[in-house]
Amino acid sequence: MIDWLAANAPLLRNISVLALLGYSVQLALRAGVFSFATVGFYAIGGYVTANLLKAGWNWVAVMALVIVVGFVFALVISPVLNRLRHLFLAMATLAFTLFIQSLALSWATFTGGAQGMFGVRRVLPQGAMIAIVVVVVLIVWLTQRGVLGRATSALRHDELLAASLGVNVSRQQTMAFAASSGVGALAGFVQVSTTGVFGPDDISFSTVVTSLTVLVVGGAIIWAGPLVGAILVGTLPLYLVKAGNLSLIIQAVVVLAIVVYQPEGLVGIVKYLFSIIRKPFRKKPRETTAGAPAS
């Protein structure tokens, strides 16, 4: 076990970062906030971590601060976002990420410019990294149940209805966005504190694509989705090596096919298969309740 963990350190690191990125998008999306800001916060988390670790800070303190920075940034921009819906929200959050990318290139004293930051101490123990992911997964899972979970899922479906049921829409969405930002920044922390490098390539548009891919492949709403997605997106390239240059194209086609034909992602496919397998054993399939159209 220990040997395997050590041997696969790069893979596990990859999966961890991917999973955190995926959960960051999901945390916002769950509450009806479609946000592309994750990669922006990932960048902020990454650069802050690189600078602080270089300044000799203890990694636990850095981690705590990075999460706080994510929260604070989210609270600062959420008044703007709270006024926006749907496509405007998507556009504004993507603009935020594109802006951070551009800033990372031009603010060289803090970010290292086009070269990025390198030679940062790789301080995060593997156990701690796995613990971080587990804690995030647990938080997502727990908050998907109970009153809070129902409130957020109501938001996703119908904000007006949710408001009429006594859900404080803008507060819930601000909290969800803050959580999303915190986890996004945390992903940046994990990336830097395990690889020691961070630069413009890490936060390019393809990272935006990857974070969505993780979510889409696994399942956008189901709590296990990003984890499953991260494992697949993390390991698949290893098997696609044979396809060489074509692997990126294959990946993109797969994602597109899933988005169009199976929006619930792989977890959705598995669920569907289970429902087929189970059906014959059920004595009386109660169709009206079991198969209500998901609208």
Binding site: E287, T288, G291, A292, P293
Partner: protein
């Protein structure tokens, strides 16, 4: 040949069986009303006729042409026009633009001009405000615009979905009057209504639709005199 002839029509929304084995016809120049409570399947029936929802089974024949399952824009081009529930005018567009869109399927420019003249004569209020956004019209005026837009397509059959909905009694009378005028110009009309008393005033024949099924049909006089109808529809509506 009937303007519309429906046989064995079924419509499903997901698992909801909205329309069940409906047979119905509208003769040339007739006004036929389908009365039923909320959720009886009236709107689903019209959606299946106009092609917005494909029927799961059954046949829809319009003036001898089978139009079952054809897409909405093709059915519109064959001269069947729908004035949908809630009027659904194009609010940000001007009245003029709304009327032009009504004539989207009419290729002959001279004919469009002629239709426009007829419509503006029938609804002078539209002529007065021809270049203002349609969304600024009052509810009754919007209903007139919806009629006007429908007439612009030079239809031979018109489907009306709850034309009196949300209007004051005085305006309902005005709408019924407009329907009579339209009918007199030679169109066949199929309307669905909850407001039975208003609809019975203008219709030749009536159907009662309940939970997706036709429970009663016949000339308006007979249907209106049926004790069940008196209790269920007319009794309630007259109190309003």
């Amino acid at each position: 040949m009937s303007a519309i002839e429906i046989t064995g029509l079924n419509v499903h929304y997901g698992k909801v069986h909205a329309v069940r084995d409906v047979d119905l016809y509208v003769d040339q120049g007739e006004v036929v009303v389908v009365v039923g409570p909320n959720g009886a399947g009236k709107s689903s029936l019209l959606a299946a006729l106009s092609g917005l929802v494909p029927p799961s089974s059954g046949r829809v024949v319009m003036s001898g042409t089978d139009i079952t399952g054809r897409p909405a824009h093709r059915i519109a081009r064959l001269g069947l026009v729908q004035v949908p529930e809630g009027r659904r005018i194009f609010a940000p567009l001007t009245i003029d633009e709304n009327l032009k869109l009504g004539a989207y399927t009419v290729k002959d420019r001279a004919r469009v001009k002629e239709l426009r003249g007829t419509v503006l004569e029938m609804f002078p209020i539209l002529a007065d405000r021809i270049d203002s956004p349609a969304g600024l019209l009052s509810g009754g005026e919007q209903q007139m615009l919806a009629f006007g837009r429908a007439l612009m397509s030079d239809p031979h059959t018109m489907l009306l979905d709850e034309p009196s909905m949300g209007l004051s009694p005085a305006l309902v009378d005005r709408v019924i009057e407009a329907i009579r005028q339209i009918s007199e110009s030679g169109l066949s009309i199929l309307m669905v209504e909850q407001n039975a008393s208003a609809a019975f005033g203008v219709a030749n024949r009536a159907y009662i639709l309940d939970q997706g099924e036709i429970s009663l049909e016949g000339p308006v006089g007979e249907v209106a005199a049926d004790p069940r109808v008196l209790a269920a529809f007319l009794g309630v509506t007259e109190e309003d």
